[in-house]
Symmetry: C2
Subunit: 303 residues, 2 copies
């Protein structure tokens, strides 16, 4: 499937958008059906789904909506939050992740993105540390590895891969104690590549001095489950979670990182997942058109 | 030199504060003479100086003020900003860094902290990316290595060590393209340890999965020039540069990291450098008292 994207110098060229995927978090105001519609109309090949939009539509209905539009589900976001130190927290997390695994299978995607969770001292994502809270990041990482080991066989039975997402260290305290691609690959080594993979999200990993080597390693080890693109914007938004932007609006060198991902043998979808209030306020079709233009200019030529 | 610090349960015990150093950035409202006075009165052994406060006092006068109070200068902040891609920017940076080296020598400290600078695309620290700006982080790191090679012999002649500071990746775009201790140690290997060192600043490196190993390596390679402590606070301040806090107010596990630094053989000063508007608004003596109490409880016992 191909579609037209305008190139900034005013010329028009046809870019193949079949590997471009709209993550529903990018068009937060849209229902799943609406997001699928704008993605299909723009000629995209896939959508990445968040569980909240899937739940609203109903899992089987969501699968049908995507399939009827001729799209793939590139990934399901998200499982994770596995760092609880107490038994009830752990048991709750395992239950929620098993449900996410079943949802992913029902939706027809093999890739379940895992945001593994922060320190127990974090009362809430983005919030202050609890006084005398548990700040032992080494122990929290060990618990993540243990929970992944408990979930991997269940995921495998459902044909689903647990996709470890290294989050930018800005989120190490409150959202993910896995901060680098290398660290995720180290954790993954105990599992076959069809059970545990990694996602390369430019926003989270662009700064990493080991990035080139670790992308190459992820390719060699057959673990790249998803390539996600969005830009690092300064000044940070009041809620730093919302500081993402369209490719080209910030500091990330997309041609270089995309080349590394391509050289690593990745041939899958390129998902755009942007949390940004201004983009959420814009019409969905406009957002997808901008996404497609930036993809055509900064990503697709280097794939 | 010893002093008294109150322990939170109400008991009082005597903690040796001779390795504790007040960085003048922590008491931003004070002149150099005032900062030295509160540090000396509290029984601290050293001060870390920023160049702006040194310039106000005059370099030789600043050296005399510190020496007369019986304190050491634990470090001078800062040299760096070495990533300019154009010749005039590079020449300007070299000139400024040579001046900083001479200042460090005059002040009697061997440790010049280097914040190496961000991407050329950053018009100003914390500001938006310039459209079509230079976002090549790999090339920027190479330029840092080249500038360090140009400066190291000059620093050595003055008995000054260039101390590479890995900054938290939140600052990779706009302030420092060196983000991890391992990366700084890799860059340092070409130079003798008395010419190029590293600083372990908990705020910048606490999240790093390789931290324990890289601190041990830094110790083995005789490169730990400074140990700086302050905490990672959430929510981030409007200006994320000011999101630092007193040890114990945020997410960092000070006992563990301090033990690693101690096991690596570090016996130098422990500098407290906090950028925080609320702390800047408080009386200097109160700030130093809180610093000392937190040091006594969370750092000193693990040194």
């Amino acid at each position: 499937m191909t579609s037209t994207a305008t190139i900034p110098d005013g010329a028009t060229s046809v870019t193949d958008l079949s590997r471009l995927s709209l993550n529903t978090a990018t068009t937060k105001a849209l229902t799943l059906a609406e997001a699928v519609e704008v993605a299909a109309e723009a000629g995209l090949g896939a959508v990445g789904l968040w569980r909240d939009r899937v739940a609203e539509a109903g899992v089987e209905n969501a699968a049908k909506i995507v399939a009827d539009a001729g799209l793939r589900v590139s990934s399901l976001c998200r499982g994770g939050f596995l760092t609880a130190a107490d038994e009830s927290g752990q048991s709750e997390a395992l239950g929620d992740n098993r449900a996410a695994i079943v949802e992913a299978a029902t939706l027809g995607t093999s890739e379940l993105i895992m945001v593994v969770g922060g320190l127990p001292a974090a009362s809430t994502p983005g919030g202050p540390a609890q006084l005398d809270g548990d700040k032992d990041i080494v122990a929290a990482r060990t618990r993540v590895a243990n929970r992944i080991a408990e979930l991997a066989p269940f995921a495998a039975e459902h044909g689903v891969r647990l996709v470890l997402e290294p989050l930018h260290p800005i989120f190490a305290a409150d959202r993910a104690v896995l901060s680098t691609l290398g660290q995720c690959l180290d954790l993954a080594t105990e599992f076959p590549p069809e059970q545990v993979g990694v996602v390369v999200d430019t926003y989270h990993v662009w700064w990493d001095p080991a990035l080139r080597d670790q992308i190459a390693r992820a390719g060699r080890e057959n673990r790249i489950a998803s390539y996600q693109v969005c830009d690092w914007i300064l000044p940070l938004a009041a809620d730093p979670l919302l500081s993402r932007g369209f490719m080209g609006d910030g500091y990330i060198d997309f041609p270089t990182i995309t080349r590394w991902v391509s050289e690593a043998g990745y041939t899958g979808d390129v998902e755009v997942e942007i949390f940004n209030q201004e983009i959420w306020n814009a019409p969905g079709a406009q957002t997808v058109a901008t996404m497609a233009e930036r993809y055509s200019r900064l990503v697709h030529p280097y794939l």
